[in-house]
């Protein structure tokens, strides 16, 4: 059966297990900085980004084009394209800092321990080799399977991602498959070597809407079956609502808000998040209000300066917003926000303050308020995002 191929954990519910054992996160990004030095200026694409992913957890990263989502993903894989450079921060994967291990180690992480689903399925397969060759390559590289064994397993994988007649189709060239099928093949390739983490960078942008849903369900299914951690990069809030446990809202290379998905949609607190949610077209809205937009353009950050990057477009921006960078602080269980003037006062201010007392990152998706505080080390408060700050809470 298909499920046997991808199962790494016993049949107990993977998600429940992950919740029960908080432990160390699978992936923790701390204070990541990526910049692109160009001839006359430098673009600071990511500035002090941080997030955590646990096994079995699906984290969505949302933001407009150019907010640094994809750059963050490529920084995790250490594949930032020239002339971009990671200038600071840590990417801890199972305790190892991926930014500091050797090239050879990194190669075994790529594809072996972290699977990547790239944006465009139509061009991400080598046009001159068959599907079988793609599978043989990664399986030989990371698992050490022989050609015949690899082929056998590849056929199983193809079947498990729902490609009909896998034993025939596997010998075909990529251009003979449809876009949706190619994305399925790519997903099968990404999980072929049983990675612990799956990064999907806008996996559905190139596909039509009916296929999008199928592909996202396929990813969900794989994540559940193999207790994978997953990062879903998207600009589509609808996708986030249905297919993520937790959401990180990114703007100008920073985290604006991070919260469990229900919390984010129920009680968005950052003006930017509120704006994004307002942009989602609703057919029930008045005709003139179906399409709304946040006025202005997202900035291309070429100068490092203090102040909230969203301030120029924010209707609530005060004087302080332009002069001081707001720190990322908890305002509720698992709910973090970087804003001087949140849209809504936190309901559980007490619990939030407790959680902020020294937590290094974000608590898990379903962590109870008390748990959040327990996670944090008793060490000095570390603010991985921007300047250290006294917990300023309304």
């Amino acid at each position: 059966m298909a499920s046997e191929v991808l199962k790494t954990a016993p049949a107990t519910s993977a998600r429940a297990q992950a919740g029960a054992v908080p432990g160390a996160p699978l992936l923790e990004i701390r204070d990541l900085q990526v910049s692109f030095p160009l001839e006359r200026r430098t673009i600071y694409a990511v500035q002090g980004f941080g997030m955590q992913v646990r096994a079995g957890e699906r984290v969505g990263v949302v933001g407009e084009s150019g907010s640094g989502k994809s750059v963050t993903a490529s920084a995790v894989m250490r594949m930032v394209i020239m002339p971009g450079r990671v200038t600071g921060g840590q990417v801890l994967f199972e305790g190892r800092d991926l930014l500091r291990i050797s090239q050879a180690e990194m190669r075994s992480v790529r594809g072996g321990q972290i699977g990547m689903v790239p944006q465009n399925p139509l061009t991400s397969l080598n046009p001159v080799t068959t599907i079988a060759t793609h599978f043989e390559e990664v399986l030989k590289l990371h698992v050490g399977l022989s050609k015949s064994k690899a082929l056998e397993r590849a056929v199983e994988l193809m079947r498990s991602v729902g490609i009909p007649d896998p034993d025939k189709r596997i010998h075909e060239y990529p251009h003979r498959l449809s876009g949706g099928q190619r994305q399925r093949v790519i997903i099968a390739l990404a999980v072929a070597c049983q990675p612990r983490l799956l990064i999907a960078d806008e996996p559905t942008t190139a596909l039509d809407v009916t296929i999008q849903a199928q592909i996202l369900e396929l990813i969900d299914d794989l994540v559940e079956r193999s207790n994978l951690g997953s990062i879903l990069i998207t600009h589509n809030l609808g996708i986030v609502a249905g297919h993520c446990d937790r959401v990180v809202v990114m703007y100008a290379g920073r985290v604006m808000e991070s919260a469990p998905v229900v919390e984010l949609f129920d009680r968005p607190s950052h003006p930017y998040t509120v704006g994004l949610l307002r942009c989602v077209p609703r057919l029930t809205a008045k005709r003139s209000r179906i399409f709304e937009a946040i006025p202005g353009q997202p900035p291309q950050v070429t100068q490092l300066r203090e102040g909230c990057p969203f301030a120029p477009r924010c209707e609530r921006a005060g004087e302080r917003c332009h002069t001081e960078t707001p720190p990322l602080e908890p305002i509720g269980p698992g709910h973090w926000i970087s804003c001087w003037d949140p849209v809504r006062a936190p309901v559980t201010a007490g619990a939030g303050a407790g959680a902020g007392a020294g937590a290094l990152g974000f608590p898990g998706p379903s962590a109870p308020p008390g748990d959040a505080g327990a996670l944090g080390a008793p060490a000095a408060p570390v603010a991985p995002f921007g300047p250290g700050s006294p917990g300023i809470l309304p």
Binding site: R110, S124, L125
Partner: protein, 296 residues
């Protein structure tokens, strides 16, 4: 093929070409009749050169002073030269020599240029800068002059001649390989291969190379007529292969003074050179359209 040959539109061709890139390329090549004929002629020329010792009617260096400048006859189908050597035999052996140089020189150019171009294109940065300056340096020197210098210094043989001309060809191959690798370097499937942990050498050789060879093959074939001309020019100048070896260019050089007595002596090698050049050129055109369909 079992399918009925329709007066097919190009779109049909793409849709019906099954299997790999090479199948599709062959399908496109087949539809170009001129290229098909040229390809057949190229094969014939190569075959004749390969089988020269078996098919030539006389000994290639065999002089027969009793039948000097004999003209075409049943004994000597294309006549004899001033030393009584059979012209057909000379032309067949000349084929062998000319083709050795015509294919050898681009091969040498490819062997030098391609690795340099790949390194420059893939790694970029300082590698690219140095290689580009090398390209410029070599392009400054006129081909004929450089090769003549080599011939004067190192002497001449068939392989040396191929090497000297080849050295002057590497820049073209280098530039082309560099351009291909720069264009393919950031393509999605290459990034995907990197994300799957494929080692760099494997990406360069296994993932990019097959995608890059099309234009390089085309360029190779297009270089052949150029080399035939160059080698003939060398022979004409007396810097080419030496007696007793035959070479089309040398045959012209040897017989120019006997042109009034027997025009065949000059027309045969000229015809051979012309035929070979045209065949390779049209084959190159066909290959370009077949392997690089976007270039039209």
């Amino acid at each position: 093929m079992t399918t009925v040959p329709l007066p097919a539109a190009p779109t049909v061709a793409v849709a019906r070409s099954s299997g790999s890139f090479w199948h599709a390329a062959w399908y496109r090549y087949r539809r170009n009749q001129l290229a098909l004929v040229a390809g057949a002629l190229v094969l014939l020329i190569l075959l004749v050169g390969l089988l020269a010792p078996y098919i030539a009617p006389y000994n290639d260096a065999g002089e027969d002073l009793t039948s000097v400048l004999a003209g075409a006859s049943w004994h000597h189908l294309l006549g004899t030269d001033n030393l009584g050597r059979d012209t057909l035999t000379r032309a067949i052996w000349g084929d062998r020599t000319s083709m050795t140089i015509a294919l050898g020189a681009p091969l040498i150019g490819l062997a030098i240029g391609m690795p340099m171009g790949i390194i420059a294109g893939w790694f970029g940065g300082i590698f690219d800068w140095v290689t580009l300056r090398l390209f410029e340096l070599f392009q400054m020197v006129p081909t004929i002059l450089a090769a003549l210098l080599f011939v004067t210094v190192f002497g001449v043989s068939v392989w040396k001649l191929a090497l000297f001309i080849g050295i002057t060809l590497w820049v073209g191959f280098g530039r082309l390989a560099r351009a291909q690798y720069i264009a393919l370097r950031d393509r999605d499937f290459v990034q995907a291969a990197r994300a799957a942990g494929v080692p760099t050498w494997r990406i360069i050789l296994v993932h990019i190379m097959p995608n890059a060879v099309g234009p390089i093959i085309v360029y190779f074939v297009q270089q052949v007529p150029y080399v035939i001309f160059t080698a003939a020019g060398f022979s004409l100048l007396g810097f080419g292969v030496q007696d007793p070896l035959a070479d089309w260019g040398k045959m012209i050089n040897d017989s120019v003074s006997y042109l009034p007595l027997d025009p065949l002596l000059v027309l045969v090698p000229i015809g051979c050179i012309g035929l070979a050049c045209l065949s390779f050129s049209f084959m190159g055109d066909g290959l370009r359209d077949a392997l690089d369909p976007t270039s039209r």
